[in-house]
Symmetry: C2
Subunit: 84 residues, 2 copies
Amino acid sequence: MTYLAKVTVTYKESILDPKGEAINDALHRLGYSNVQSVEMGKYFELKVTGNGQPIEEQVDEMCDRLLANVNMETYQIKIVEVED
Amino acid sequence: MTYLAKVTVTYKESILDPKGEAINDALHRLGYSNVQSVEMGKYFELKVTGNGQPIEEQVDEMCDRLLANVNMETYQIKIVEVED
């Protein structure tokens, strides 16, 4: 079985996100005055082969060890099954 | 009504993703040999106030005009309603 792990990594709420603020300002200048705020983060899509271990636990560990800076970032994981 | 637009921006399939490949290699070195491939992209979370126009159409336009380089990137939009 093959899985697709969709991971979003964003700053913790206490961390300033200047890129997100710059994009928010730019959207206002383009006329989208109904945009209240923008957060910018990273997105990872991992194709993972099932190996009998829980996939979400493995991807969670990959986030802690490599993909996210857990001091200032949080992450969300969504796993979907895909065709091999 | 307030909406949260979750936007992921990734390279088109024909575009090489060296960062994703570097992360794939790093995960293998950490022992995650069941990772087949990694794609790296950008993630935007926009908080948008409803203004009577379809939100998804507006966010689609924001992607085309600002958030994505449509020459080499594709994007996916997911809209959820949130508390004000």
